[in-house]
Every structure is written in C-alpha cells, then in structure tokens.
C-alpha cells in the first residue's frame, strides 16, 4: 500500500466525496463522521508519504504505468510532502470543527457541504503531489470550483463575493493554462522534470518569457498576491466559518507552493532571478503587500475581514522570502507557509466560534468575552502573539529567518517593511485583545458570588481551536527540528 500512497491520497477523498452523496441519500447524519474519518485517513497517508520521503528520498509514481514524460507522473519530494501534511492536517481539524457551525449556518445541507469539502481537499492535495504542470491546472480548477461553491453558500453577501472570486479565479487559472500552453509550444512536454531539463536551453526565447509572465500573474491571482488580492477579503469574510478557516489557511499556501515550483523547479533560479528580475519585482510587490495588507486591516471593523487583510500581508511575507534568492529567506518562507497555515486557521476558527456563540462579527462585539469564552480567547491570544512575532511562538521564528534573509541580501528596506508590518499587526491585535480583556461591563455577579457564566463553544469546536493554538506554540518550540529534518531539503539548488 505504501507505494500507492501518492495516488491514494487523491483517490480516497475523491471517491469519498461521491460516496458521501450516496450515503447522504440514505442517512444524512453519516456525512459528518464520514468526512472526519476520510480526512483523518488522508492525514495518515500524508504522514506515511512524509516518512517515505524522509527515509528514502523523492517518491515517483507513474499513473497508468506510463513512463514520464508521456504519462502523468506524481513526484513527491520534501516540499510536496510538507505541503500535503499541512493541507491534510488542517483539513482534518476543520472537518472536526465544522459539525456544529455548519449545522447552524447551513441547516439541512450538510451532505452536500461535506461532499464539496472533500473535493476541495482532493484538489488541494492533488496540486501538492503532482509533477505535471497541466495536472496542476486540473487540480487547481477542482479546488477553486469547490472553493467557489463553498464560499457562495455563506451569508447574504456571499454569492456576490463568490462571483467576484469566480471571475478573478478564472482569469488566474486561464493565465496559468496559457503559460502551460506556451511552454508546451516550445518544449512539447508537460512533465516538470522534463521541462526543467529542456528550458535552460531556451532561456532567451520570447515564448518562454511570455509563459513565465503568464505563470507568475496566474499564480499571483490564485494566491491573492497584492495588488491582485481584491477578491479575497470579501470572499473569506462572507464564507461559512469553517470554509474561511480551511480556505485562508491552505488555498493561498498551495498557490505559493505552485509559484515556488514554477520559479525554481520548472524554471531554474538562474532564469527566474537573473534573466528575469523577479527578485526586484516580487520584492517590491511583496513589500507593498505587507504594508498595504496591514494598513487596510487596521481600518476594518469586521473580525474576519480584518484577518483576511492580514492574510494578504502574510502572502506578501511568503513571496518576499521566496523571491530573495538566498537559503535563509527561502527557509523562512517555507516555514512561514506552515506557521501561517496554523495561525490563520486558529484566527478564523476563533472568529467562527464567536459568530456561533454570540452571532457577532465585529471587533467591538468581543468586549468582555474572556469571561464567557476564556479558552477560545486564550487561543486568540496565542495566535495574536504569533502573528506579531513574539518568541517562542511560531511566527517569531519564520519572521526571524525572513528578516535575516532580507538582510543577507542587503535589502534593508525590505527588512524595514517586515518590521513595520509586524508593528502594525501588534497595534491591531492590541486593539482586539484590549476589547476582549479590558472593555465591556464586568459581568454582574450571580447569586452565590460565583463569577461570570462560562459559556464556551461545544467541544467539537473548542477542541480544534485549542489544537491550533497549542500547535502555534509547539511549532515555535520545534521549528529548529522542522527546519533540520524537512525544510533544508526544500531549498532549491544554486541558493
């Protein structure tokens, strides 16, 4: 079974999504345990893959037994396995969380929700395991279509937000596909390994330049890279809570992964950073993303909307690290993919919990909530520290590497952008935490003098929130080990 894990990780959620509909036609209640079971199995498989990669190096799998470059090949190296573990873990945690919140937000539609949810997981995992540029497009569309549907079932304004996302996302996917088409035109292959062997000889072809430009803009739209982020805040604000959490924490990260693959595996660093000055272009754009994301987040009243703008800034962090062209910054970027997935999941899960219990969306509604929901607010506190970058939380370590990387590249102004964005994060979270802990009327004492009634969210929601909050701390403490065992192997050659 181990040798088939690369394909099972996609086939199992795909088949499970379809079986779920048949199960749901028979018994509606089964779809939640089914989704949790499937995502847990997929998480197990991704761990198995990671184990295989760590002990035996890159895994190759030929679909249908056809040898590459003719057939589709699944290639899993350290970076793929790393992303697959993140996506499947968060997928599993959010599936557990979704039970009560989906019951409340989408009553009677759980069966279809979980089917589409599993398809979203299929698409995201597909992108992470495939070694074929066209196959990435197919899975990008599977995940995006599932994402559009899941976002559209949110609140009243969700259909409009989702429609904007459809337009932008389709343009992004279309650009990506044009890039694939141009490359196919000059190389006649779609396999990443094969492309990376052929392309160095074509590094002065106009067609290849055009392909590269299409790839970059396409992935930038998909990962909501400033200034192409305009679809993201509305989409993630109005989506159902569980969907915001999974989308914010994994979809943008997978987009970043595609960008890394295109820049450093399909094209070589020598091409991406020297022939085309991507380092400067992406550097300035990321600096703008960091500052603009944080500044725009400052002006928001809605909790989820504020987190969405922070996510725009975080995407800037990752792209900045990726495009610096040295191993320190790249390590920071890959570590930040992991850390940001956890932080964003935690923040959006907390926002969902607040919405579930208090039916509230605004920051001012959080006033005094630490008495009613102490553990949830503690989780928010942990995630906030990590977003600001306070040691020993996870956010500190990735930012540390990212800033060191920019300094190593001699680009002090980008280091300053990191610090400014972190300071703005601190201001924002100060505002949120002050509302939570220091405002609001002290809850009137009840009879017998016991303090405020603790009214936490149900255990299926609280558990995942705490797992994420603890995860943020644990990842910080173990970041050295994560870098040593996985991330240092993901750094492209020539850095």
């Amino acid at each position: 079974m181990t040798e088939h894990a690369p394909v099972l990780i996609i086939v199992i959620p795909l088949m499970a999504a379809c079986l779920n509909i048949l199960l749901g036609l028979w018994k509606k209640e089964l779809s939640y345990p089914w989704a949790v079971l499937v995502t847990a199995v997929v998480f197990g498989l991704s761990l198995l893959l990671m184990q295989t990669v760590l002990s035996g190096g890159t895994v190759h799998y030929r679909l249908g037994g056809w040898a590459p470059p003719w057939g589709i090949e699944y290639v899993i190296d350290h970076l793929n396995a790393f992303l697959a573990v993140i996506v499947s873990f968060i997928g599993c945690i959010v599936a557990v969380y979704s039970r009560r919140s989906i019951e409340k937000e989408l009553p009677g539609k759980q069966v279809y929700f979980y089917s589409i949810y599993l398809l979203l997981i299929t698409g995201l995992l597909g992108i992470t395991v495939t070694g074929d540029v066209f196959n990435i497009y197919v899975f990008l569309e599977i995940s995006s279509l599932a994402g559009y549907a899941l976002i559209a079932v949110g609140d009243d304004r969700a259909p409009m937000a989702s429609f904007n996302y459809v337009i932008m996302g389709t343009i992004g996917a279309c650009f990506y596909l044009l890039g694939v088409g141009y490359l196919y035109m000059v190389t006649g292959t779609l396999n990443m390994g094969d492309l990376s062997r052929i392309l160095p000889g074509l590094s002065h072809s106009r067609v290849v330049y055009t392909a590269f430009a299409f790839f970059m803009v396409g992935t930038a739209i998909k990962m909501a890279f400033f200034p192409l982020h305009i679809w993201l805040p509305a989409a993630y604000t109005h989506a159902p809570s569980a969907v915001s959490a999974i989308a914010a924490s994994t979809m943008t990260k997978v987009g970043a992964y595609v960008m890394i693959r295109i820049m450093y595996t399909v094209f070589k660093p020598a091409f991406s950073l020297e022939v085309i000055p991507m380092s400067a272009i992406l550097g300035w754009a990321s600096a703008a993303a960091m500052i603009a994301g944080s500044v725009l987040a400052l002006g928001q009243k809605d909790l989820k909307r504020m987190f969405s703008f922070m996510l725009v800034a975080e995407v800037g962090y990752i792209v900045m690290g990726v495009s610096r062209g040295n191993s320190t910054a790249f390590t920071g970027a890959v570590l930040h993919i992991l850390n940001d997935a956890f932080m964003m999941a935690c923040l959006f899960l907390v926002a969902g919990a607040v919405r579930y219990r208090k039916n509230a969306r605004n920051i001012t509604d959080l006033a005094g909530l630490h008495q009613e929901m102490p553990l949830t607010m503690l989780a928010l506190f942990a995630a906030a520290l990590s977003m600001v970058g306070v040691p020993p939380t996870a956010g500190f370590f990735s930012k540390w590497y990212l800033i060191l990387g920019t300094i190593k590249a001699g680009e002090w102004i980008f280091a300053a952008a990191f610090l400014l964005s972190s300071l703005l994060n601190a201001v924002m979270f100060y505002r949120v935490l002050e509302t939570v802990y220091y405002t609001g009327e002290p809850t009137p004492k009840r009879q017998g003098g016991s303090s405020a009634a603790v009214n936490e969210v149900p255990l299926t929601m609280l558990g995942p929130i705490l797992v994420m909050a603890v995860g943020v701390l644990v990842l910080g403490l173990f970041s050295g080990r994560i870098i040593d065992t996985v991330i240092r192997f993901t750094v492209p050659e020539g850095f």
Binding site: L8, V11, G64, G65
Partner: protein, 152 residues
Amino acid sequence: MIKRNEDIIIQTVTRLLTPFVQLFALYVIAHGHYSPGGGFQGGCILAASFILMAVANDVAFVKRRLPERLTTALISAGVLIYAGIGLACLMLGANFLDYGILHRVLPVDAVKARALATLGVEIGVGITVMAVMVSIFLNLLSAGRHEEGAVE
C-alpha cells in the same frame, strides 16, 4: 417566467427525435476510445436529449423520468465507476489506471482489457456529465426551485 409550452408540433417532433439523439449519444460514448468522441461529448448529447424534453414540455416532464435524487446519485455513480476501475487496477497490483492488469479478471488479453477498461471509464464519465448537465439546466431553468416541479 417560462410558460408551459403546449405546441403539439414541437412536442411530437421532440418525442420522435429523442430516441435518435439518445442512440447517437450512446454511439459517441461507446466509440470514444478509438474514434472521435468519448464520455464527455456523449454525455453532453445524452443530456441534450433531456434538455430538449424540458424545453418542449416543462421541468416536471423531465423530472418524472429523471428525478432529482436519481441525477444526484448518477453524478457520484459515474465518478465512482471511473475511480473504481482505477482502484481495481491498484488492487490487482499495478499502478492506478494501469488497465492492462485487468486481463487477470476479464476473459481477454491485456491489450483488449485496456480497451474495455477505457470504455468503462468513458461510460462513467458519460453518466456523470449527463447528470451534471441536466442538473445544472434544471436548476437554471427553475431558478433553483425545481423541487417544486413545474415552471411558473
């Protein structure tokens, strides 16, 4: 809104045309693996026959023949046929979708097994495409309320 169409000419022509459209759809699906055509194209033609019925009559007319629960089940059944054939190859010890190995369970040689399994996959694709197309059309036609049956 769409008025119920009572035109006897349109309804009779549709009645005559539908079997031929559906037969052609099956032909396109069945020949997909060695001539132009295939599951997607055939599925679309098959869906077109149901859409023709809906246009000539009304939503309820189609839904009596193809209830919503059935289309929903067919959507997943088609994907399951496709993935199931792939999984069967995996169970027999080959890679996913490596149909050649199916000669162990089918009474034919490896080359023929490959062709037959491809046909199976095309059938699965055809079923899903047909069900999805019909489902999308009925939803659009009745503004998502097709559980109420007739169109206003």
